[in-house]
Symmetry: C2
Subunit: 202 residues, 2 copies
DNA sequence: ATAAAAGTTTGCAGTGCCTGCAAGTTTGGC
DNA sequence: GCCAAACTTGCAGGCACTGCAAACTTTTAT
């Protein structure tokens, strides 16, 4: 990678870093693009060369592209239940997030304090979601217009989001993977009422 | 209701109607608040006395308040599985939407064409979502910090959203209730792979 | 009926996000 | 070193949205 691209990468993360730090300190609404740009030593106009919106700077680059998700999902044999398949597909991303723990905890804190950001946490756009739906459909030999793939895609996404929130709220010794497994497990159980201690399922 | 409130109601729906119509014609991005206000015969400043954001005018009033949801949910006996409980709680809202079919189909078309609106379709705000989580928790004798209520609330919301999308995409003879039931049924089945015709579950 | 009170609409001025355009400046290949 | 491509920047401008204070309208009390 040449000097050029290295510099771009630097500017990019300088911008997210500044955005995250400032938003964490004062709340996203009390930080202007002008301030973020100043903190990253670029002009406000340049900010928008890197990110389409102020929010995007907070969210940074996606950990995993929709294309990768689709590709991997299609590689999972059809016998594997969709929940396990999705879990497998996301595992590398989960580990990636776990590795960048500090960054992500900060990011999640900012998201939690600025709920406007929340929807974008998973399924960053309708386009990505549609790709995901299509992949689930293809893997199951179904149409993207069928209920199952649409539901599976959206619901696993929602479950993942819940896992992220819980992980970020938990203590430092927890692994994101555990939260995701727990959530997906409950999903696979059909959201059956969890058994309080010493109680049998009816 | 006095003249005053009647007029307010009139203005309010004139604004949503104008917003929906114009957004449907040209796309939300190509409609300004000024235009919506002009179509509804009020000043742009007045628009913002009625709706906090342009999006809100599209979305109109919530069909069911978070408070009602919580109230009803707490009334459902604990033995009823959460999915059935939620289904029961939403039924009146579902019928309400079905009754205002024309309005909602238009609204859904606008939402589909302007995916930025999509997240707000269910769980209009983080606050509402939290109330919902709390209600699910209370009904199940769990804490709002537990995984189960958080997951159940978010996931059923997502499923409802999918049902709405499917209903709006389907022909005129379909009932929203059927789509919701189908989605909730798949959820209850743990997102098991649906059986294609003439095939046995492994 | 009339005047005061309470609630609504409106214009105005201002902030901040975001965009297109037309320079300037930096970088990589020759 | 020199050219072309890529990147940065300033400027002008559109639009969402807000607070404030001045009309205006409905309601209430007399």
């Amino acid at each position: 990678m040449g000097l050029r691209d290295r510099k771009k990468q630097q500017t990019r993360s300088a911008l997210t870093d500044a955005a995250l730090r400032l938003a964490d300190e004062r709340g996203l609404d009390h930080v202007t693009v002008e301030e973020i740009s100043a903190a990253a030593d670029v002009s406000p106009r340049t900010f928008f060369n890197y990110f389409a919106t102020k929010d995007d700077a907070i969210l940074g680059d996606p950990v995993i592209t929709a294309e990768t998700v689709c590709e991997r999902l299609l590689a999972v044999p059809r016998e594997v239940p969709i929940i396990d398949a999705v879990l497998g597909v996301f595992t590398p991303a989960i580990e990636q997030i776990q590795a960048d723990r500090e960054l992500w905890l900060l990011r999640m804190r900012v998201i939690k304090n600025n709920p406007a950001l929340l929807p974008i946490l998973f399924a960053r756009g309708a386009a990505d979601e549609q790709l995901f739906v299509a992949a689930v459909a293809a893997r199951g030999g179904l149409s993207a217009e069928d209920t199952f793939p649409q539901l599976a895609a959206v619901v696993t996404g929602a479950a993942f989001r819940v896992a992220m929130m819980r992980w970020s709220a938990a203590g430092p010794d927890h692994r994101l993977a555990d939260f995701v497994c727990e959530a997906f497990g409950l999903l696979a159980a059909g959201l059956a009422h969890p058994v309080p201690t010493h109680q049998e399922v009816v």
